[in-house]
């Protein structure tokens, strides 16, 4: 994470359904329109498949499904945020990118204590901006981990 003066940072905000989320802008490489993905056999439901990103094979994670929402039927209006997660590059399917936020660290409030595992796994904090609530999510766990396939 790049910290500017007064430990301010830039976040990229996006929508999934009625909810707003954001991730650190430094992890986002590019944003592109939805294109049909090639289905991968025996993959979790939130993995939409793979697409060709200039010669590299890019897995597409349906972030709505990953976060436990009703997955959308993707249209041309949906976008894919290409993000760096560790050493891998992943495409995240979201409804739309809404904003670039410049915030200081103290504007990020701790995640409210909720029971949802999903929230604990992904949400790192919440922001209140102009009456909106935006959840800051971490991308470390968006890809499925290598769990043994049940025989």
């Amino acid at each position: 994470m790049i910290k500017h003066d007064n430990s301010s940072r830039e976040l990229i905000a996006f929508r999934i359904g009625e909810q707003e989320f954001c991730v650190d802008i430094m992890s986002v490489r590019e944003i592109r329109g939805w294109a049909p993905a090639t289905v991968l056999p025996k993959s979790p439901p939130y993995v939409r498949g793979v697409i060709n990103l200039r010669g590299a094979i890019l897995p597409i994670v349906d972030l709505a499904a990953r976060l436990g929402f009703q997955p959308p039927e993707p249209t041309v209006r949906h976008v894919i945020m290409v993000a760096q997660v560790g050493t891998q590059v992943v495409g995240l399917l979201v409804d739309a990118v809404s904003d670039i936020l410049s915030v200081t660290d103290d504007a990020i409030k701790p995640t409210p204590d909720v029971a949802s595992d999903m929230a604990k796994t992904f949400v790192r904090g919440v922001l209140a901006i102009e009456g909106r609530m935006i959840s800051l999510i971490a991308l470390d766990n968006v890809l499925p981990t290598l769990e043994p396939i049940a025989a």
């Binding site: 090639t38 991968l40 793979v50 697409i51 010669g55 396939i149």
Partner: protein
């Protein structure tokens, strides 16, 4: 210390190159092509290794390299004839040197007995025996690798080395026209004693006016030598008439301190500037004696080259010697990852260009319009770029072939056979991905050829053949693949025995009627090994079946032809790159998949009478009297839940690496295509049943089926069904 480690790593990398050069040179000498260039190259290789090893205090390596070098020097100056016996020792010495380098790199040690034996042998070859003491000290000062000490010690040089001569030497153009070379003359001269050289370049014209075949330099040489003027004249014997030459004797004593502006000072200054204030470098403790000029120059080049990692410059370590000016191809070292990225991008460019052409045509531009012509041009350019980029990664098989002569020597001595290796087509290029995986199968094939193919010398003589067997290793390009052949002139396959063994091991029925070809191919069956006693060399439990499978794993094929009494030939055919694969593009449940062509035996349209259900959804298909499991790819990969009707589908008969056959059921076949292999793991993870991905002409991703796992998975599914089958059967 990190910097030191990096330099050390470079040293070992360069050792590899030097060792390769050494071996190539020695083999050329063994064939009787002992030109002075070759001998010099061999000498330089050992010398450079010794020099570097000295800097890193690798004592074992230095000591052995020194003895080796001393013996080589006798060959170089003609005192020792490079006979077959001598070369045999030399080659074994080169092997040991390679082992010592490897041991030094990995921090291990080599059996000192081996080194002692060779030291004795090498020393015995030297005409002067052990006592080449003066030379030894000469070399000691040099392998210290710290020429700076040398430079400081010049004032202490003993001046009683005889008379001093001042020689002026001005070559005329005819000298060069006749193929003579000043540098060689000067080098010869410096053998006579202590020498200072200065060059008067004042006659050198501006570049524009320079005649490339002219001669503009005048050399002034101060030589202190015990030899007389005659010896000096002898050096100039062949160039005297094409140059102006004066030789004047002067008083030796007057000479010692007169070196102002001399070469030594220049070198000392250069060295100081190179080394800066770095005093922590290892310094020589050996007593220093003035060096012959050439040694100094080499040392300087090495110091210069190390920081720059300029292996190319160092390759011709004689780079210092003017005679190495002959243009060696220049090379650079590049990070493989960058090259791979470039290849990826160019592949993408090709796809993109194809898509663009298609869109332009769809937009109504007719062929021949300006836009279409421009696109044609673009297509040519992209293809050319692709070829060039692929060529960057291509390497000559030489790097693999170079390891073979040593292997042959080892196996030959272990089996007590006499073997001559002939290699052909070393320059054949193939992608690096293939080169890296060629070594193991090739090693096994060579071992097999010597151990099983060739007969013992007495048997050969009895059969009227020369005692020495020949193994021929060749590489060539054939229809877009690389073909590597290992041929021996041995006894050929003993078919009666092969058949008996196969029957004994239950691999075939005892009364099976097999053609010669079928019998020959029995040796590729798992569990087949003809060696009656398990030898150290071939019978390590891995047989030709392993070789065949590893070659198939590379998308290659292995075949054998054999003639009794004349020998056998193993032919291995491989794709030129592992970055691409020949595949059959098929459709399954609206998904496009690729089946590797190497696994496919045939495709067929199932007939109603051929397909039989076994219950529990398992089906078999009858193909020419055998029942083969029918695997529904769409269901197996989870693309659909209902079984495909085999009558509207296509069956692809495939063979696994283990040799088992199955039929894959797919919806339609789109065609056959060469596809670029892309990793799924780099951004995702391994997917069971899928080997990799590729990008098709329309820019979409298609998955490449891993035939073996698909079949294995379907069989593990089937085991669950076994009780059902048992009940049904």
């Amino acid at each position: 210390m990190d910097a030191m480690a990096a330099v050390k790593q470079t040293f070992f990398q360069e050792c590899e190159e030097q060792l390769a050069e050494l071996e190539t040179g020695l083999l050329a000498m063994e064939r009787g092509e002992a030109e002075s260039d070759t001998v010099n190259a061999v000498f330089r290789a050992v010398h450079s290794i010794k020099g570097g090893a000295g800097a890193f205090s690798l004592e074992d390596l230095v000591q052995f390299a020194h003895v080796f070098e001393t013996t080589l020097d006798h060959v170089r100056n003609g005192a020792l004839e490079p006979t077959a016996d001598v070369m045999g020792v030399m080659l074994r010495a080169a092997d040991l040197l390679a082992d010592l380098v490897a041991a030094a790199r990995d921090g291990l040690s080599v059996d000192s007995g081996r080194s002692e034996v060779l030291v004795t042998e090498l020393t015995a070859l030297s005409p002067g025996g052990v006592g080449a003491d003066t030379e030894e000290e000469d070399d000691l000062s040099d392998f210290s690798f710290t020429p700076v000490t040398v430079a400081f010690d010049f004032s202490d040089a003993p001046a009683d080395a005889g008379r001093s001569y001042t020689i002026t030497f001005k070559p005329r153009p005819e000298l060069y026209a006749k193929g003579n070379e000043t540098a060689l003359v000067l080098r010869e001269l410096e053998r006579l004693g202590q020498m200072e050289t200065s060059c008067d370049a004042s006659a050198l014209p501006q570049l524009a006016e320079l005649d490339p075949e002219g001669a503009y330099l005048e050399w002034t040489i101060r030589l202190t030598t015990e030899k007389g003027e005659d010896a000096i004249r002898e050096v100039f014997e062949f160039v005297e008439w094409d140059s102006s030459l004066t030789i004047q004797a002067s008083d030796a004593d007057a000479d010692v301190d007169s070196g102002a502006g001399s070469t030594e000072d220049a070198f000392a200054a250069l060295l100081r500037s190179i080394q800066g204030d770095e005093t922590a470098l290892p310094t020589a403790t050996a007593e220093i004696i003035p060096l012959p000029l050439a040694e100094e120059r080499e040392a300087v080049v090495e110091v210069e080259a190390q920081p720059a990692k300029a292996s190319a410059a160092r390759n011709g370590s004689g780079g210092a010697n003017a005679n190495a000016n002959a243009a060696a191809p220049q090379t650079i070292r590049a990070d493989l990852e960058r090259v791979d990225r470039l290849i990826d991008l160019v592949g993408e460019l090709v796809i993109n260009q194809a898509m663009l052409s298609q869109r332009v045509m769809e937009a109504g531009h007719v062929p021949g319009s300006a836009v279409a012509l421009g696109l044609d041009e673009l297509e040519h350019l992209t293809r050319e770029i692709q070829d060039c980029v692929m060529a960057i990664r291509a390497q000559a098989v030489k790097s693999v072939f170079q390891r073979i002569p040593r292997l042959v020597r080892e196996v030959a001595s272990m089996t007590g056979k006499q073997v001559r290796l002939i290699t052909d087509g070393e320059g054949t290029e193939v992608d690096k991905t293939v080169i890296d995986r060629l070594n193991d199968p090739l090693t096994h094939m060579i071992r097999n050829a010597i151990d099983h193919g060739l007969e013992k010398p007495e048997v050969r003589i009895a059969a009227g053949k020369p005692a020495e067997g020949v193994v021929r290793l060749s590489a060539m390009h054939r229809s877009g693949r690389i073909v590597i052949e290992v041929a021996d002139d041995g006894a050929g396959i003993n078919r009666a025995r092969v058949k008996a063994i196969a029957a004994e091991k239950g691999l075939i029925a005892a009364d099976a009627a097999l053609s010669d070809e079928e019998i020959d191919n029995l040796i590729f069956l798992p569990g087949f090994s003809t060696a009656s006693e398990v030898s150290n060399i071939s019978g390590r439990g891995v047989g030709m079946d392993v070789v065949k499978r590893s070659i198939q794993g590379l998308g290659g094929r292995l075949s054998i032809t054999s003639r009794p009494g004349k020998g056998s030939t193993f032919t291995m055919s491989l794709p030129l790159t592992l970055a691409v694969l020949d595949g059959m593009v098929v459709t399954v449940a609206d998904q496009t998949l690729v089946v590797p062509l190497t696994a496919i035996i045939e495709t067929l349209q199932p007939k109603p009478a051929d397909v039989h259900g076994l219950g529990g959804g398992a089906r078999v298909i009858a193909i020419r009297d055998t029942f083969t499991p029918l695997i529904d790819v769409g269901r197996e990969l989870g693309f659909r839940n209902t079984a495909t009707d085999p009558l509207v589908a296509v069956a692809i008969l495939v063979e696994t690496e283990g040799g088992r056959r199955s039929a894959l059921l797919v919806d339609t076949i789109q065609g056959q295509r060469q596809v670029v292999i892309k990793s799924l793991e780099s951004n995702y993870r391994h997917v069971p049943g899928i080997a990799a991905a590729t990008i098709l002409g329309d820019g979409r991703v298609a998955l490449i089926i891993d035939v073996d796992t698909v079949i294995a998975n379907s069989q593990s599914d089937a085991t669950i069904l076994e009780p059902v089958l048992a009940a049904a059967g």
